[in-house]
């Protein structure tokens, strides 16, 4: 029997209320996360991936409204908790590595002191000063920083070092889940690689579950076991990363993979995706991808396709997934 899920997102619907109307940012999204699992959510800007990340911590924007659905952590619905109880879970159970490591630190406090604050808030019984210092040193070593850096201010850190320190902060209270929202987006490729390898190593050593959120499908390929592909607020495909990359079933997933250049393999011809993502104030009827979909039929503009199981742990929301080519075209670029 498989272990029960640590985290379950169950038919989550979240909208933003704006002057112009309601933005359907997250629409009927379900997935679960097991202990020690690395899940990736990938999609373009505005697809809802960051809205989901923020919802998991209940740090959503003020104009966000949860219309329906649940987020369960060990069976407990986080959306039903009062704020003070939710605060106990933040950092302690679910921690977050934000995008934009530059802005996540308070510039006038030493980095070590900012981590100390999180430890003081969450550790019961409270740790002694010596224990805290010891713990911060160990965390810094774990993420590849010199422990002496804990006494420095954020501006004395390079971008990569700040992101490492953010990871140290996220790990500080032994969370069971880390949400990494574009953890390396602002970084150069060599530093990005170092941070990703570090995160992967720590995650495996500590047996933590992690949710990576990224627009970069190559990053997701590298670090996750399971991938969820989002389009316009909907989760359109979910499955084992290796399987989804080898045999994407949703037309959007197929086209996304077909249009991702790589430095390895033959120089393939890349297939551009026509059109642009829809405005979520007024999303298309039926399948939200149908206006851009080369496989769309009449039904797609009327009925919304449900998630359908197409393989072991592999689900797709498409009426015509059987029309999608089985593998990505390897046609060479002329």
């Amino acid at each position: 029997m498989s272990s029960p899920p640590l985290l379950e997102v169950d038919r989550l619907v979240m909208h933003y209320v704006t002057e112009k109307g309601e933005v359907s940012a997250v629409e009927d999204v379900s997935f679960s996360l097991k202990k020690g699992e690395a899940l990736g959510l990938v999609g373009e800007s505005g697809c809802g991936k960051t809205s989901i990340a923020m919802s998991l911590l209940r740090l959503q924007a003020d104009n966000a409204v949860f219309k329906s659905g649940e987020i369960r952590l060990n069976g407990e619905n986080l959306l039903a908790l009062p704020e003070d109880e939710m605060r106990r879970h933040r950092w302690k159970d679910i921690a977050m590595v934000f995008q934009g490591a530059m802005n996540a630190w308070n510039p006038v406090y030493r980095v070590g002191d900012q981590i100390r604050e999180a430890l003081d808030l969450h550790f019961r019984p409270r740790l002694s000063d010596a224990e805290v210092t010891e713990r911060i040193s160990r965390l810094f070593e774990m993420v590849g920083l010199n422990p002496a850096m804990a006494n420095r201010y954020p501006h004395e850190f390079s971008g990569g070092m700040r992101q490492r320190a953010i990871i140290a902060m996220a790990l500080s209270c032994d969370p069971s889940i880390i949400i990494a929202d574009e953890p390396t987006t602002a970084l150069d490729v060599i530093v990005q690689d170092q941070i990703l390898q570090e995160l992967k190593k720590i995650q495996e050593e500590l047996g933590m579950a992690i949710i990576y959120i990224s627009h970069d499908i190559a990053v997701i390929a590298e670090v996750t076991d399971t991938i969820g592909i989002m389009y316009a607020g909907k989760l359109v495909e979910l499955g084992p990363t290796v399987e989804v990359f080898a045999r994407p079933k949703h037309p959007y997933a197929y086209l996304l993979l077909s249009s991702t250049p790589s430095v390895t393999g033959p120089r393939r011809k890349l297939a551009p995706l026509e059109g642009e993502p829809p405005n979520l104030l007024n999303p298309p009827t039926g399948c939200r991808f149908h206006p851009r979909c080369p496989y769309a039929t009449e039904r797609c503009s009327i009925d919304e396709p449900p998630m359908e199981v197409v393989g072991d742990g592999h689900q797709v929301a498409c009426w015509n997934w059987q029309e999608v080519p089985v593998t990505i075209s390897q046609e060479a670029r002329p």
Binding site: S158, D193, F245, A246, A271, L273
Partner: protein, 333 residues
Amino acid sequence: MSEPLVKVDQLTKLFPVSRGMFRRPVDFIHAVDGVSFEIAPGESLGLVGESGCGKTTTGRLLVKLMEPTSGQILMQDEGSLIDVAHIGSDDLRRFRRRVQMIFQDPYESMNPRRTVFETVSEPLAVQNIGSLREREDRVAQMLQLVGLTPPNTFLFRYPHELSGGQRQRVAIARALVLDPSFVVADEPTSMLDVSIRISIMELMLELADAFDVSYLYITHDLAVARYMCDRIAVMYLGKIVELGDTEEVLSNPLHPYTRALLSAVPVPDPTYRKPEVEIKGGITKAINPPSECRFIERCPWATDICHASEHPPLEDKGAGHFVACHLVDKGAG
């Protein structure tokens, strides 16, 4: 190889770093330091490297948005050679017809108070080309070419009414409206979403053929460079460390920095096992750099030769594969 369209020789740009009480510049960042390369007509050269390596500065020098500290940029113009650093004001206007730039951020590179027509036709107005009527026709034709169709629905829109991809199409139309022979494109797709990115890349490739234009394509993304460029040059702290045919450099990287960079690139294939990235330390700034190899502190292979010698010259190691490294043998290319 035919006569190069662009010939860059020992191009150098130093930026003063002001320090101390009187803010006298005592130190210099060697942003671009003795860079030489050629671009053939119709060729697309990729300039790749991490932030701060000098790729953007090189691009700006080439379109004369900045003056070099030293070195030479020669450009072919209808049979004659222009020395870009010493263009007189008369020739400058002609130079601007031949050379254009596409910027990274389509949200910042366009005047928000100008319509698409005004933005795209401005170069024609500056150059005094055509009547208003002819300009309208030309702009409509350009919009058609960049896929903003039907053109009359776009002509009088403002940038805020366009998506990022559409704005970049306008920027491309503007860059090509004077039929230039050389375009510097600085990360033209890095702000765009994946699904939009490929269509812009494809468009640029198509138009390169149609307009017979050469690109200097600046990017941090090696996979994008591979798709767009015939040859690539890899920069590290102001120096070109490796240059050659794209596929040759990517399949047979010879400089230790290129190898590290290449093995760090994420690959969209979960079954791919990446090689270890062999590099030491973190990136530094090229402030008054020592005379030895620029990469020496981060190079895991550096030997006594590297410590005892000057920065190695960019040498042909075989078949037009240039590398600046003491440790790479001739014939390795």
